[in-house]
């Protein structure tokens, strides 16, 4: 492998890693912090990718050789924001019925089947996003700053992706530590108790579902501008499982652990085999990768369900009891003065209750 092709490959891995970390944070917010088994996560990434693609491909022409809807030319930042909006909007639509209170395995099955339905729908109706062939020739953004056909552009884009990652990490960390994040974890650990303390469980799930969807849309937009092409094979339901495994291995409800998990699963297991000499027929390595992902999944659940870097225990002192008292005026007012101390201790403990 010559130096330039290694340089090209490394830049690609760095970009893909950033995109995968972004989507893992989005799913971690939904699954890790809120306990939503979102098996259709990849659909929202696809929504962002398709939106960003059609908004920059320009109007459909007879010579472009692909069929799609609503082709326009908008600037790169606008297209990226539209991708975020698309992920959030689709999440809102699906969340309306999928976030109802129901058995966890039924919710998981519904979301899994939705991922199959939507993929099948795009395959069948080729007028939307060109079916299985997918959209191609998406132009690379920021061409006026760096020549898009150089590895310099790739590294510049990698820097942009990771800058966005830094912003998103800051946001998800702030969110998870906020009172909203504590309420999320409270309803995950015991939804009846959280509801009794005044949390609107369905609204909380809906909010985190939409926020996660927005992050998924963002990752999809960033991905499509790098790959320049996107088709239905890019978002099979298995892709969501790979993100899930990253989270399970790295650390459920731990955004730093998720980086490690994504590195181990998406880079070491999925990308590095591309560097090895090919063996067998084309596609054998891909099929074996899914076998490994499935085995990793079972091993993760059997051996260490909380991940390599588990969720940090949150201590009640960090928020201070006055804050809790403000948050729960009715509860504290009702408590008799003599029992107040013990009552608050219990309330504080719910914030730090561990997953299992």
């Amino acid at each position: 492998m010559s130096f330039s092709s290694l340089d090209f490959y490394l830049a690609t891995v760095v970009v893909i890693f950033g995109v995968d970390v972004l989507s893992a944070w989005g799913l971690n917010l939904q699954y890790g912090y809120a306990g939503i088994p979102n098996f259709s996560f990849i659909v929202f990434q696809a929504a962002g990718a398709y939106t960003a693609a059609i908004l920059t491909l320009g109007p459909m022409t007879a010579t472009s050789g692909q069929t799609y809807v609503a082709g326009t030319h908008v600037p790169f930042p606008v297209a990226l924001l539209a991708a975020v909006a698309a992920g959030a909007a689709l999440s809102a639509v699906i969340g309306v019925f999928a976030m109802k209170r129901m058995r966890a395995d039924y919710q998981a099955a519904i979301l899994l089947i939705l991922a199959l339905i939507l993929n099948q729908f795009i395959v069948t109706d080729t007028s939307l996003f060109n079916g299985t062939s997918g959209l191609a020739n998406v132009s690379r953004p920021l061409g006026s700053l760096v020549n898009p056909s150089t590895t310099g552009w790739q590294w510049a884009y990698a820097a942009l992706v990771w800058a966005i990652c830094a912003v998103v990490l800051f946001a998800v960390q702030r969110l998870s530590r906020s009172s909203w994040g504590r309420a999320l974890r409270a309803q995950r650990d015991h939804d009846a108790a959280a509801a009794a303390l005044g949390c609107n469980v369905v609204a909380l799930k809906m909010q985190v579902f939409v926020i996660g969807g927005a992050i998924a849309g963002l990752s999809g937009g960033l991905l499509v501008f790098y790959l320049q092409a996107f088709n239905t094979a890019s978002w099979g339901y298995e892709e969501t499982l790979a993100i899930f495994v990253s989270i399970l291995i790295g650390g459920v409800a731990n955004n730093w652990g998720v980086i490690l998990g994504t590195f181990l699963v998406q880079i070491v297991f999925v990308e590095v085999p591309n560097l090895l000499p090919q063996f067998g027929y084309i596609g054998l390595v891909d099929a074996l990768e899914w076998v490994v992902i499935g085995l990793l999944w079972m091993a993760a659940i059997a051996l260490r369900p909380q991940g390599v870097i588990p969720e940090r225990r949150v201590r009640a002192e960090r928020f201070g009891l006055p804050a809790l008292r403000r948050a729960l005026p009715a509860a504290t007012a009702a408590a008799a003065p003599g029992q107040q101390g013990a009552h608050e201790e219990r309330l504080g403990a719910t914030g730090g209750a561990s997953r299992r």
Binding site: P37, F39, F97, K100, R101, M102, R103, A104, D105, Y106, A108, A109, I110, L112, I113, L114, L116, I117, Q120, F121, V123, T124, D125, E238, L241, F244, Y281, G283, L284, A287, L288, W290, V291, I293, G294, L295, W297, M298, I301, A302, P305
Partner: protein, 296 residues
Amino acid sequence: MSSVVVESIGFGIVDASIISIGAMGFSLQFGLTNVFNIAYGTVLTLGAFAAYLAEQWGVVGWYDVLIGAGVGVIATWLIGKGILATFARRNLGLFELITVSLAVELVVQYSVDAADGEQLFSYSFDQGRALRFLGMVFTVTEVEIIGVAVGAFVLLECLLRLTKTGKALRAVAEEPRLARACGIPTSRIVNVAWVLSGALAGVAGVVYIINSLTVSAFTGTDFLPLLLAAAILGRAGSVSGAVVASLAIGIATQLVAAVGGTGYSTIAGFGILVLVLLARPGGVTSGLALKTEVTL
């Protein structure tokens, strides 16, 4: 009614027969164990592949169904007693168990895919001459498939209604703790359910490829959502419910196929499952919505 609609109903009845064989098995399994076992789809695939291999070795015709049933029992036993029960002993929740079954599905499906070179194999089965009945067209084989489904249904109903084991099966499906308190050997009854559902899954897989004449690593997985929809719509644990629901789903998807093409018929089948899961969060009756205990 136009002839297209009548013909679609005919195709729907054939589809429904295949769906009902699998759905009866899933209904029995899910009703007794309360595990949403997605790996059931790979049992269909394994049964179908066993039939394909048997055909390659010269065993043709309906003997393949028996081979499929045997392979189905073995595969279900390994998945249910070997993997799912092991995980259930760790006090995992319903969500963790569905993910484990999904992981099993992924592993088996892609192992088959890797082993067979990602191909679509064709299975040959003499379809016989076409028969006309009330404007619907059936081949001899299709009539026989309907016969297999009816036979499986009658046998299963007789088992459930007339034998002591059947009574115990129904009792455990209804309320496992009470059944155990009454002295029913719950784990032995659950084993019976694993065996019966495995056999039905294997038969369903073979009958499916007798009708479609192709088999790949994804055969069972692609067919699974229809089975799940029928089993849950028909009330988990109820064999007759599964059959009625299969008829509704088979005919509905064929009508959609007649109007909008096969792509949309798949979407319609999956859509029915989503609606069923949303509308029946308990799966059975509202009382069972709270049933979160797993019996393995």
